[in-house]
């Protein structure tokens, strides 16, 4: 099993099918998942599945798309941790089944207050400006750029990246004071891992770390 698990979203695949495939990647030891938008659209991607992606799925997920991203694939993308697109791509929120959980996630990512209107569509440059995507690659290279980001994540301590994902997304829902205590506790939990000791040792010995996930 490679450290990077890859999925391509094919037309008509159900939300449950994608969830099972993602769980399979985690069970087989992947440290990060890359999901690429495919041709056509998925079947529905309901809000509790979007929330499952950011809140409950342990691995960081990098999402790559080219062209027009809309509908269920756009809803899926909102649940991922890192979004990458090609130049000329667009992210369309109009037409996404905006149940409460999906709308809340979109608002979180865009930093929108409750009374602000959700924009319908973002061109790649605008999506980058608003942080809806964090990387824009030359047209046709979004998948490559996503794998580049995934390789960076896969080279890090796997417990650290899982807890970092949890710290960011679960921390955002907490008042700042509580969120800072949460970060401290996750930090202390990591202090008890072999990976953290290895990371520090490797740094001081000026060699690449060998993380085992323990």
């Amino acid at each position: 099993m490679s450290a990077i698990g890859t999925l391509v979203l094919e037309e008509g695949v159900s939300a449950d099918g994608v969830v099972e495939a993602l769980k399979g990647l985690a069970e087989r030891g992947a440290r990060v998942a890359v999901v690429e938008a495919g041709e056509g659209d998925l079947r529905e991607w309901p809000g509790e599945r979007v929330r499952w992606l950011w809140r409950d799925y342990p691995l960081p997920v990098v999402f790559a798309f080219e062209g027009r991203l809309a509908g269920a694939e756009a809803a899926f993308a909102l649940g991922c941790d890192i979004r990458v697109c090609g130049e000329g791509a667009s992210f369309e929120l109009e037409g996404v089944a905006m149940d409460d959980l999906t709308a809340r996630r979109a608002r979180t990512l865009l930093g929108l207050e409750a009374e602000e209107v959700m924009p319908a569509r973002f061109a790649a440059t605008e999506a980058l400006e608003r942080g809806l995507v964090s990387r824009v690659a030359p047209a046709g290279s979004a998948g490559e750029a996503a794998r580049g980001a995934a390789e960076a994540v896969a080279a890090r301590g796997p417990i650290a990246t899982r807890l970092a994902k949890e710290a960011v997304w679960r921390g955002l829902d907490q008042p700042l004071e509580q969120a800072l205590r949460f970060e401290t506790d996750l930090t202390l939990l990591l202090q008890a891992t072999k990976d953290r000791a290895e990371g520090v040792r490797a740094f001081l010995e000026k060699r690449p770390p060998d993380f085992t996930g323990e």
């Binding site: 930093g111 970092a164 710290a167 921390g171 970060e183 953290r196």
Partner: protein, 210 residues
Amino acid sequence: MADAVLFAIDDRGVATITLNRPERLNAINMAMRDLLWEFLQACRDHPDVRAVCFRGEGRAFSAGADISEFGTAPSLLEARRARHERDVWGLMLSLPVPLVARMHGFCFGAGLELPLCCDVRVAEEGTQFALPEVTLGYIPSAGGTQTLPRTIPPGAAADLILTGEPVGTEEALRWGLITKAVPAAELDEAVEEELGRVLAEPFAPKPPRL
């Protein structure tokens, strides 16, 4: 040897806190944390202080925490108690006066988390910003996992925190990680301008972030 953190208050009421361990790129060690704690309490308690400016001596603001001291805490529970009792970053977030960071060179790890507790961040063009803790099997622990997604779009914050990769001033400006980027020769002037601006505002205690 000079103190690793310097503290001065000028006649305008601007307190300047200077990280002063340039030979280690201002890597923040426990002695520096103790000094920061002391000086921040002085900023809180001294009635003349109306703004605080953070800067770093040498070629970087700060390359982060001093990793050579990692793992020296007596026990996890002792470390937890110590952090809660001497919460340097929490104290920064609850100071009632504006905090301005003068950033240059590298702002890595705690060297970025400290400015994230400030209200205004001015950087020299070409400065590199990163939260590289995951490269050490660790996560940001000076508030960065919480302050970064509350400062820049959370998806961009997740990218930085999960990959540990650095970004430059262009990305930092785009996402609001810094307030302003200026050429090296204009950095002091730009910081002065920001200080002048916050001092010109009628004094009112800042609503605490904590």
